[in-house]
């Protein structure tokens, strides 16, 4: 089956992104297809390349990155939500004249259309909120 996940909560503060990560791993393990993970609202902070975690705590953005690279996943951060929350790639940092960018390279900034497109292309859409 084809799945799309929507993640609406920030990591560390909320458990929802961690639940979503475990769910994503389980569905891939079972041979299902993960069409896209769409990060919305404070969920855009899952795409931060600047998160550091003590050695005994998990780093969600790095885990998303690793999962995406292993399975060639499409992990999209909502561009409108991200810009208002300070999550930028190099292009947007330049466009908005910010001093740097902080989006992990495995993530892509794109519009809400990617959420609608993914919903149309998927058998199931699961929201993880907090």
């Amino acid at each position: 089956m084809i799945f799309t996940l929507i993640v609406q909560a920030s990591p560390y503060q909320h458990q929802a992104p961690e639940t979503a990560l475990r769910f994503a791993k389980a569905l891939l393990r079972q041979g299902h297809t993960l069409h896209r993970i769409f990060f919305y609202r404070d969920g855009v902070h899952n795409g931060s390349a600047l998160v550091s975690s003590p050695r005994d705590e998990q780093n969600l953005p790095e885990q998303w990155q690793a999962l995406a690279e292993e399975h060639d996943l499409d992990i999209v951060v909502c561009i409108a939500a991200a810009i208002r929350r300070g999550v930028l790639d190099a292009t947007e940092a330049k466009r908005y004249e910010r001093r740097g960018d902080n989006l992990h390279s495995a993530f892509e900034l794109s519009g809400l259309g990617q959420l609608v497109e993914a919903s149309l292309a998927s058998d199931r859409v699961i929201t993880f909120g907090g």
Binding site: Q8, L112, G113, V116, V125
Partner: protein
Amino acid sequence: MSINKRFLLISRSAPYGTSAAREMLDIALTCSVFEQPVTLLLLGDAVLQLIRDHRPDEVSQKNLNALQASLAMYDIDRILIPETALQKHGLSTDQLSIPIELINAEQLPALIAEHDIVITI
């Protein structure tokens, strides 16, 4: 896009205290731009989003009433509110910013079942 799916967006949040109401409308308008039919269901405190005469400049936010008024132009005309939610807050339909459709609580399970994609926000 050729495939049509019926989207249902569910909100449970009052306006302005969080960005949920605004960001639900952003999804709704996007569904419409992609020519997908979309229904909005406002539960609990989300009913309060539709009270008229917002003046959110007082708290440096954009006016949701204006966004709500634009829904019809995007052919988003199914905005559903359970009668019980309206009663709970002591509101009547003529106090609301836009026309809505009242729904009996008993109809809610059927409403869910007639949609393909349900997104809560």
